[in-house]
Symmetry: D2
Subunit: 341 residues, 4 copies
């Protein structure tokens, strides 16, 4: 059986696992105050070229989003996001559970438009009753998005400009950031992300770690008192060094980049195969998530050999399906899947 | 340098680590729907002798407490707990952040008295203005407590009876449950805990796992819709099998029990040494946390060779200090520490 | 200057005011435990023909919505509502502030369709990832809606059936319920509302009271422990009798109905005048809110003599405007406005 | 029957009621944007001698406390208060419901000591684990306290100094502020309160209004975006002018002060009678709440003629009881009660 359901089906990259084993019986202080964590933070700051940035390691994506957003908003504010945003759909109301509304914007294959963000803010403050409504206090975007799409440098710059003009922080959910940075044809680098966003996170869970997300606050003071907030959100790992060791490993010798590129290579092989075999791409994705329209018969046949996700409800005769590659996807698996298509 | 600061200074027990490595490149579905997790749940249910219990695996203690308490209380209710309870002191307001008040009871070396719980509840409903106050909706206890002390079977039974009579759930925080069950002279077994509590958790983080806590709901329906609540609290691990594999290992061949007993053996050696060398025990603890009163001079001298915690503020001439052993504490470390005393 | 901005521009109906003055120096216990409040509850129960209903008096609409919704939902649940619902737009995030998401449905002149509610619920539970999403835990509707429109008896019955089949409560926001019940051509009575909804509120603030909303829980036990929840939400009036006296007066001798009918009569005169003078109705409303499309020039001219609301942003050449009548709208004001049109 | 249960048993002072009647049919805009409210704010600012202060009118005490505290704290912070503070005991968890912990201090007849506040803060930041605990983010005091006691000018100054040194706001709950300012022998004036506190409220509900509390933010910017927060907390009155008119009346011709003095005069007569008749004062109160120890027999006898509160549980042979006077307490009632003693 082949598995293309998601990019979190394996454990960690073997290098990460090796370092966890090598250090396993060492004794360190808890809660991320250890040397491994300090070193990992240093490497992340070097990778983004920002010595003054603040880096925090959390365990998973939903808790990271909830904690960061809670740290960035005042009680009367909400977070702008695409209607398809993970925080709006698939986090069981974690944002609302800490008291904040998700203010939805139209999505364009998962992305928001700078012009629509700007219009939302302008219209909001033009409305005489705006103090009876939830104020747009920040913008949330994901890169890649939930649809595997990417912002261009121009688009990201435009969003950043709109946010800075409106004096609200721009927060980028990078659960799959590695795959976005390694994508074919992207003109957005990690340093661009750091320069244009106020806060973002570098996803580890889906890109080589057992678990872990690295939150980067690009300006000192933008996430004040973030440590107790991490604790309050139940997101503080007792053995914090586990996060430090993993990110230290991922940010040594370009490992993060290398393994992300591998996933993209595999995804592009798959995409090419889809096109060559005459399937219609639902989205022309350049990242590790591939969406394709497939006849139901073919889906049923393929499901005897491979697992993958139906994207939305099953259609009458054909359905959108999603195939996901990862740092761990082997050539054999790709070749066999292509053969089965 | 010797380290006796806490019981979460190392990684995982080597057997746990080995299983994580062996399974590392296997592919499984996420969020704890995998076979390892099912198997681990089964083993926990067998260990407590309750086939109908529900078991959930979460990552850490604070998030477990916050999620369980949120699941057990209605909005107008609060949680009764000793004033020294971890949820009242050291969780950065995680309980309040989900809207619930901690209703404090006097502590007796970290424990609450059944009679005082009963009096609180009786007095509460006798007060004519009780609907203006937060109703006692559940009782939180820790076993061992934050002071390393243990409830006797009689005490635990009395608490259980008071709660059942008042129709409120009894929740036991078992962050160090293994060390409690392995303690010298305790008459409380795991099956007693399961029989007398409504919900409890078996701590993994401090007893051999990299991380992880096993929540047991001993009656079906007492924690309804707990899965989305775990997600909402940011406590759902994407690679849920990591928790399953760890608890599966810990609950195979009595590993959990065996390694906890080791910590107790080491702690008892230490305690005996303290007594023999004339130190005054601050608490006569039978678990892996030992509290002793030490002259400040001796503390300063010892700190050149070992790390340990001051328990409360430094006194004029002497101070209470805490030494913690764990599954990983070696004979060499104990012997050297004893020699240094 | 004529005022048609809203239906809460005056104080209370003179009969209400008189009763408040007559009872002003009487001494009663607080918090709604007085005889006036008991009597008012009795009269409301008689008016809806449900002796077992529970009635609670709160001060304002937003607090009523937030408190009732908090009482009806479990933490993992959200409230279904039209995207234009007051709770989604104009309550400053009060619902989210108590931890719950508003799950939006398409609006049809302010109304939701039973078929779309049913589809939402069906699709939700069909989605394999539904436990990662906020569960639809109740339905919120307003009657009249924010657009002055009304559900027909068939529509309301269909919504009630969908909710009962899905086992979620139906909650009706009756901020302007009086005007809805008195509307021309409606086939929905107060008893229908009580029979088809699980909880609803009878608005006082906009229909003759200084302030006050009467929450009706039509089944015992559906809003358990609601008193402490009212207190917790800051919605408990110390001098609770002020609410009792007002609702007692409004529900004596059909006053609530009579004064609501007066507002409808005035609104219909206005509507007829709009039509006769060739204005295009934006919505064909049969309640006390009238929406009409007006050339901007005419708006500017009219604004020298009358106040009213622009409904949405000003258009290029014409704009939707809203005129609201109330129990207090005089014949003179209506005649003069019509003359000015 | 005589009533001494509380100071909110009547409606409003006749002057207040008269103004509400006189203005009843006037039309004004809602939500406190009317001229009466502006004028009332102006008068409050004049009374405290602070033209730059910001004044907001809310409906009741619990909602005022919850909204102000939510506005003053960041998510990781809690509010310091006496263990007997109204927010800690009698607000059904309203503070926790908006996510904040009440950090309790010892009470001294309802008051907190500056030295103990200072020690709490100092100890907190000295604790190495302080980032795992809820930070003291503000201080709440009541004046008069729940026990009718008052801070002296020295005590209030000391508290203010401690707070300013620690850079946390001092908030004073003035539910009965009028009675505090009018108390015999007090050296604290309204201007002192305004000068020494960061935020406080002037209680209307218990001092002559039907309802209403005037929040004063003595420094611009200390309660930013407070309007949407009032709305979010369900504390925004649609007909906001009702609050404006009441406070305008109370702050015209010293009415607030005059009627508060009346209550004190009556309370002092009562106190003198208690003393003369040999009762033991439980607290030597100089405000409108009088606490006295009374034999149970005498309580039972007196209860046939008067209502008053038992303060705490009934004792074996004697019990503490509370008698409350108000602006409305007549000479006849006092004389009759004294006669019955």
């Amino acid at each position: 059986m082949l598995h293309f359901d998601s990019d979190y089906m394996e454990g960690a990259h073997p290098m990460v696992m090796r370092r966890l084993c090598e250090t396993n019986l060492e004794q360190t202080v808890g809660y991320g105050c250890d040397e491994y964590t300090k070193q990992a933070k240093q490497k992340v700051k070097e990778a983004i070229g920002m010595p003054d940035a603040e880096v925090h390691f959390l365990v998973g994506g939903t808790q990271t989003n909830a904690t960061v957003i809670d740290g960035l908003l005042r009680p009367h504010e909400g977070v702008l996001a695409a209607e398809t945003a993970h925080i709006n759909v698939h986090e069981s109301g974690a944002i609302e559970a800490s008291g904040h509304k998700v203010l939805t914007l139209p999505q364009h294959t998962g992305k928001v438009l700078a012009s629509e963000v700007e219009k939302y803010i302008t219209d909001f403050y033009r409305d005489e009753t705006y103090e009876h409504m939830v104020a747009p206090g920040m913008l949330y975007i994901s890169h890649p998005t939930e649809y595997g799409t990417l912002y261009s440098l121009d688009e990201l710059t435009a969003l950043s400009n709109v946010c800075r003009k409106a004096n609200i922080p721009l927060y980028l959910d990078g659960a799959r950031l590695g795959y976005g940075l390694a994508a074919q044809g992207t003109d957005v680098t990690l340093k661009d992300v750091a320069r244009l966003c106020d806060v973002f996170y570098i996803g580890g869970t889906k890109v080589g770690a057992l678990f872990g997300e690295a939150v980067v606050a690009t300006r000192p003071g933008i996430l004040p008192h973030f440590f107790p907030l991490i604790k309050q959100h139940g997101a503080l790992l007792a053995k914090g060094r586990l996060l430090g060791i993993q990110f230290d490993t991922l940010f040594t010798d370009n490992l993060y980049q290398t393994i992300a590129s591998h996933a993209i290579t595999q995804a592009m092989k798959l995409k090419q195969a889809f096109v060559e075999k005459g399937y219609r791409l639902f989205i022309d994705s350049f990242t590790n998530q591939q969406f394709v329209v497939m006849p139901n018969e073919q889906i049923d046949r393929l499901m005897q050999h491979a697992t993958f996700e139906l994207w939305g409800p099953r259609g009458e005769t054909e359905t959108v399906v999603r195939f996901v590659t990862s740092w761990a996807t082997t050539d054999e698996a790709i070749d066999e899947l292509i053969e089965r298509l």
